[in-house]
């Protein structure tokens, strides 16, 4: 269970371009579910994802991961928790150019000090799960959109996280790849992983995958977010 209590996030506080991305958001995310954050761009979905996923700290309010309050943890500890608990899939994939798919997949595990050989094996197994084994040594620039997507997902899984977080995953994908993506999410859900998706794409929030849909607008939750 991830709980947020009255979480607000203000960027550039006190300056002329002050921007309130979140305004007193309180939400409980059940980790047995697939939760979908729905709303137009600028609604605060990405910011909320970042805070729930231990990437950023709220300006005010509190966050609980299970029973532990993580709001005022120093960045170092927050990162440690994030590494072990969450796997992120970004809108733009955000893969590092100039190195191979395999290396990209292994990078999140470097700070853990895991030995190279077992790490490499696990990375190859993960790539294999998505039929990308033959492209393991290919440089990122040479991969197609769908292949890059699968590498990005494999990277999110390398540290065996319990929770997958995806921010607008289908924004740069065509219909076929979008459906492919939802299929992969279905597989992951079947493996027992919790998933939190933020999207304004109907393919995502209208699919039967979502157990709970939370609607957002202008940094606030829309009343009456329903459970599917």
């Amino acid at each position: 269970m991830i709980r947020s209590r009255d979480v607000s996030k203000i960027f550039n506080a006190g300056r002329p371009n002050e921007f309130r991305a979140l305004d007193g958001v309180s939400v409980d995310i059940d980790l047995k579910d697939v939760t979908i954050l729905k709303g137009p761009s600028g609604s605060g979905k990405t910011t909320l994802l970042g805070i729930l996923g231990c990437m950023a700290r709220p300006t005010s309010g509190r966050i609980f991961l299970g029973d532990t309050e993580i709001t005022s943890l120093p960045e170092r500890f927050l990162t440690g928790i994030r590494l072990k608990t969450f796997g992120f899939i970004f809108q733009q994939f955000n893969l590092i150019k100039g190195i191979t798919a395999l290396e990209n997949v292994m990078i999140p595990a470097f700070p853990t000090g895991e030995k190279h050989a077992p790490l490499k094996r696990r990375a190859l197994e993960t790539l294999d799960m998505f039929n990308m084994l033959h492209k393991a040594e290919a440089k990122i620039e040479w991969l197609s959109g769908g292949e890059a997507q699968r590498v990005a997902i494999a990277r999110a899984l390398i540290n065996r996280p319990k929770i997958i977080i995806a921010d607008e995953p289908t924004a740069h994908l065509d219909t076929r790849l979008s459906h492919e993506f939802m299929e992969i999410m279905r597989t992951l859900k079947a493996e027992g992983k919790a998933i939190i998706l933020a999207s304004h794409d109907p393919i995502v929030y209208d699919s039967d995958l979502g157990d709970r849909i939370i609607e957002m607008r202008d940094g606030l939750l829309v009343e009456g977010s329903s459970t599917v």
Binding site: R57, P58, T59, S72, L73, P74, E75, R76
Partner: protein, 331 residues
């Protein structure tokens, strides 16, 4: 002033390092004033990020200061021929009143930096930065020492003019002259050797006890500090005799030279390492009640104690090697 390249290097690097530390101290003050771990404000985040910068600076400082310490001695040694009566670094350092103070300040600031880094490592394990105040107070306390070392070194080198008559090892460290240097050399040799071994044994035994039981930390810190002083006195008054195989050569700096296989380096490095890690280990006993450190404290304590005892063992081994395996004897 003597425009020797090494002297310029020492002056420039000391100046740069001092500036770095002044910069850190400025942020140290800000941290002490505005630190609030429970607020999620932007300022707090900025301060937390700044602590990384400061610990990076102090880590580099430690390494540079060590290099600077040995370079200082080595430079003093190599310019000794410019002064009548100076046979090695000892003579050069007594040319004016700032030579030995600079040396002592270099050693002292090195020890302080080492201690700070131990505290810093410990602090980083706690999720609420439990030692932050003490740490930055210490940093502010270190700043004046570092500044005075830079100034003292500058005055020392600035006041060096060749051909000044000075005293050389022989007369400075001989029985006839007065002053601390002579008293140290005159510590009776064999009893001092015994004291050295005794101190090493007591510190080691207590260290093992402290490591197992977690008790008696402050005593271990005290013993480490005492052993540091005893080791230094022992090196000058008796261990050096065995290294030089001469009953009256007490110079602490000649053992750093090629003729003696640079054995001075492991000797002094092990003494410095033992002091920093030992004192640091003992000091951790003060934080046993801190919640956020409960998990990691024992592990760090044990690692520090191990490092300290290993360093003590190195010096004991070297000493015993020289005592047992050379034909020189004091009896």
């Amino acid at each position: 002033m003597i425009l020797h390249p090494n002297i310029l290097a020492l002056l420039v690097s000391s100046l740069l390092i001092s500036l770095m530390l002044l910069y850190s101290s400025y942020y140290g003050i800000r941290i002490l004033r505005s630190w609030d771990i429970l607020s999620g404000s932007e300022l707090q985040l900025k301060l937390e990020r700044r602590t990384y910068l400061i610990s990076t600076i102090v880590s580099y400082f430690l390494v540079f200061q060590l290099a600077s310490l040995f370079l200082f001695i080595s430079t003093a040694d190599s310019i000794c021929e410019l002064f009548i009566g100076a046979m090695c670094a000892v003579g050069t350092l007594t040319v004016n009143h700032f030579g030995y103070p600079t040396l002592l300040l270099k050693i002292w600031t090195f020890l302080l930096a080492g201690f700070w880094l131990v505290l810093n490592h410990l602090d980083n394990q706690g999720y609420n930065y439990p030692l932050i105040r003490g740490k930055y107070l210490l940093l502010l306390g270190m700043a004046p020492f570092i500044l005075s070392e830079t100034v003292s070194q500058a005055i020392y080198f600035g006041g060096l003019k060749p051909d000044i008559i000075t005293s050389c090892c022989g007369s400075l460290f001989s029985s006839a002259s007065r002053g601390i240097a002579a008293e140290v050399a005159n510590a009776p040799a064999l009893p001092m050797l015994a004291a050295f071994y005794l101190s090493a044994a007591v510190t080691t035994v207590w260290g093992i006890y402290f490591s197992r039981s977690g008790r008696g930390g402050l005593l271990f810190a005290g013993l480490s500090a005492l052993h540091f002083l005893i080791s230094l006195v022992a090196v000058v008054s008796v261990i050096s005799l065995y290294i030089y195989q001469m009953p009256s050569h007490h110079c602490p700096f000649c053992i750093l030279q090629k003729e003696y296989y640079f054995v001075g380096y492991p000797v002094y490095l092990s003494i410095l390492a033992a002091a920093t890690t030992g004192f640091g280990a003992g000091w951790t006993a003060r934080y046993q009640a801190v919640d956020s450190l409960r998990e990691d404290l024992p592990r760090i304590r044990v690692a520090l104690i191990r490092a300290s005892l290993l360093s003590i063992a190195v010096l004991v081994a070297l000493t015993s090697g020289y005592v047992a395996c050379t034909s020189f004897t004091l009896r």
